[in-house]
């Protein structure tokens, strides 16, 4: 996927002016976060499970080479194959070769953010292989040629009417000539269209929520059942997963599953959680004859052992974006690449470079809601602050901002000067703002006053001055 992260500010302007997007985001703010809170409150052990989930992922990361080798050994013993892809290009090549080995014309794809990361669909299409997204949200945005705007709800930016228009446009040629208006009719029509595509597909491609080293299983969590059809009906199942998805045992999976669904959608459990272990066995009446796992690094191994390692704990639940006031205002597309929201602001600079994505870690008020809901307790504000420091060090910040910050730091480190200047500014603002109590324009604060008034400080001096008067 081509990044537009460098155009973040322009993207934000577009997002704020998009009425359909703002309607959709208004629903997101109450939906996911309320349901997560209720699910967490129903389970007294939830906080203890979060601690345990964090520890499991830390343990797996500290022994990642061991568990990956163990996973490979188990997959191979049961007749599957493991392919190692240091880069996105390697993964694209491996998957294309596997598809070509089956003479594949279509690939039934279950939602995979890693596949988005490596821009797999474009590559397959360039080779004449048609990837068919089967998750309803992914299917909708594939028809619209849009990227996902959320990691678990890829079409969350669209309204029902937009979906109805898209289906009407694309399904007409398949004989569906009525524009639908009810949600259940839209779901039924997509089910009907996609069912035939599942039956026709030569290859099924899925991601993985976890790779279980103990058993050599890939674990998939979905609500629709599309991943299960993808890994059961076609003759070949390809799993694409990044290195940090490996966990030690099934017991560890049990802990992670308990926090994953509750954090993501507020469900006690997703409808389908599936362990796939190798290809079809002797006597089986269904299942793929070929089972391949492609393990992608793409820059992740370099994060291990650094102060940024915590980002690799992420289990992709989406809670951080569901609770982020910035995501809630601008949606996912503005972030410009595959992973939006707070986790995107941390991952994107790592995966495509801080030069390209320097703006993303700045899109945070550091309110801390993301960290407070993260099921594996990733310190997202701290990691974003780290990227801001890198941005500053590399002189990627605009000159005016750098000089402003320098001036600020000069003053802030000199308490007497600071107090004198703030007292002066306070007096000036109270004096000039006395009539209305607010400013419609203010020198140096145009970016603020263009959208809202700046309140004039109340009489009585600065906070410092008031505090020293009140203190007994």
């Amino acid at each position: 996927m081509q990044s537009t992260a460098h155009d973040f500010k322009d993207n934000v302007g577009v997002a704020l002016a998009d009425a359909n997007l703002q309607d959709s985001l208004a629903k997101l703010k109450v939906g996911f976060s309320e349901r997560r809170r209720e699910a967490a409150e129903r389970l007294p052990e939830f906080e203890a499970l979060r601690d345990c989930a964090r520890d499991i992922k830390n343990h797996a990361l500290e022994n990642l080479d061991f568990y990956l080798e163990e996973f490979e050994r188990k997959v191979t013993a049961l007749g599957g194959h493991v392919h190692w892809a240091p880069t996105a290009e390697d993964a694209r090549r491996i998957i294309a070769e596997l598809c070509q080995s089956m003479g594949a014309r279509t690939v039934a794809k279950s939602k995979s953010m890693v596949a988005e990361e490596i821009a797999l669909n474009d590559h397959l299409e360039s080779l004449g292989i048609a990837p068919i997204e089967t998750d309803l949200g992914e299917y909708i945005i594939q028809l619209r040629h849009e990227p996902p705007s959320h990691i678990i709800a890829p079409a969350v930016h669209l309204t029902k009417d937009q979906v109805a228009d898209t289906f009407f446009e694309h399904h007409r040629k398949l004989g569906f000539t009525r524009r639908l208006s009810e949600r259940n009719d839209l779901v039924a029509e997509a089910r009907h269209v996609l069912r035939q595509k599942f039956l026709d597909a030569d290859v099924g491609l899925t991601g993985a929520n976890f790779l279980v080293a103990e058993t050599g299983s890939s674990m998939l969590v979905t609500n629709e059942g599309n991943a299960d059809l993808s890994n059961t009906l076609p003759r070949m199942h390809i799993v694409l997963a990044s290195i940090e998805k490996v966990i030690p045992t099934l017991e560890d999976a049990a802990v992670l599953l308990r926090v994953l669904a509750r954090s993501a959608t507020g469900q006690e459990s997703s409808a389908y959680t599936t362990l796939n272990t190798g290809p079809k066995r002797p006597g089986d009446l269904d299942g793929p004859e070929h089972y391949h796992v492609v393990i992608l690094d793409n820059g992740r191994s370099a994060v291990l052992g650094t102060e940024m390692q915590d980002m690799l704990r992420c289990i992709r639940c989406g809670a951080c974006m569901n609770h982020c006031p910035v995501y809630g205002a601008i949606g996912g597309h503005a972030y410009g690449w595959v992973y939006p929201g707070p986790i995107g602001a941390v991952l994107t600079p790592q995966l495509i470079g801080v030069e390209e994505a320097a703006n993303l870690p700045n899109a945070s008020t550091f309110c801390g809601r993301c960290e407070s809901v993260c099921p594996v307790r990733i310190p997202l504000p701290r990691l974003m602050r780290h990227w801001r420091e890198r941005e500053f060090e590399r002189h990627l910040t605009p000159r005016a901002a750098r000089q402003g910050l320098k001036l600020w730091s000069f003053i802030a480190r000199r308490p007497r000067l600071y107090r004198a200047l703030t007292a002066l500014a306070n007096r000036a603002l109270s004096l000039f703002g006395r009539a209305e109590g607010r400013f419609h324009t203010l020198p140096l604060a145009g970016a603020w006053t263009r959208f809202r008034d700046f309140p004039a400080p109340p009489a009585g001096g600065t906070f410092h001055a008031q505090w020293s008067r009140r203190r007994p």
Binding site: D65, E70, L136, V187, N223, E224, T273, L275, S301
Partner: protein
């Protein structure tokens, strides 16, 4: 693929990980500790709500299954075929189903239901109803556990609009951990079935305006027949 480029890529990734972690391959005590953890997996915090005696587990299972939009009937073994036929009639569904070729299911007196026509085998695109057994039920969340094999084709769990699962009370356990132990005991520690599906209610999607609709790709209806023993 065991070709040379794959081996080189494998080494590149594993060595990259070791370099970042400032160590070589795990050896000695460090390796033994990780191997021991793998052999004797520690359990996470116990979920108290499923820590019940067996009759109470069955009740909890049924409550959560219904909360997740499945329907449940509790019957004696002799009543299983009658309950299946009655369920299909209640819901205006055809008295026709694909049934898993398992000895457990073959043990019920299906011939008692004259109107019911059954086809043994895997699920096909044209099937409207499937009947399967279940490896286990998880009381904590009302979840069915399906282990694939010649007696239980995966397609029966997924393709039909209506899935009827026959679950014995004694196969209802508290949480996932008990399922894992039963799988290890039944299939061998290093040999899970090709597919283990855990199913919590019917297929669903919230992809249009975050409003849940049932029957996205898998069954729209899941009916669980819990068999008293």
């Amino acid at each position: 693929m065991t070709d040379a480029p794959n081996q080189a890529n494998r080494a590149a990734i594993l060595n990259g990980i070791r370099r970042s972690l400032h160590r070589g391959e795990l050896v000695g005590a460090a390796r033994q500790a990780v191997e021991a953890r793998l052999a004797e997996p520690p359990h996470g915090p116990a979920v108290k709500r499923a820590n019940l005696d067996q009759p109470a587990k069955v009740v909890l299972f049924c409550q959560w299954a219904e909360a997740n939009n499945a329907t449940v009937a509790r019957v004696a073994p002799a009543e299983v075929p009658g309950e299946v036929a009655a369920y299909l009639a209640r819901n205006n569904l055809p008295a026709q189903a694909a049934i898993a070729p398992s000895p457990q299911l073959a043990g019920y007196d299906w011939a008692s239901q004259k109107m019911l026509s059954l086809r043994r085998g895997r699920g096909e695109a044209t099937d409207q109803v499937s009947i399967t057994g279940a490896f286990a039920g998880i009381a904590e969340t009302g979840t069915l556990v399906m282990a694939s094999g010649p007696e239980h084709p995966v397609t029966l769990n997924l393709l039909p609009d209506t899935h009827i699962a026959v679950l014995r009370e004694s196969d209802i356990v508290g949480g996932y951990e008990e399922v894992w132990n039963r799988l290890r005991a039944g299939y061998g520690k290093d040999r899970l079935p090709r597919t283990v599906n855990t199913i919590t209610g019917p297929s669903r999607t919230g992809d249009i305006e975050q409003t849940i609709e049932l029957g996205a790709h898998g069954p729209r209806r899941v009916h669980i027949v819990v068999v008293r023993e």
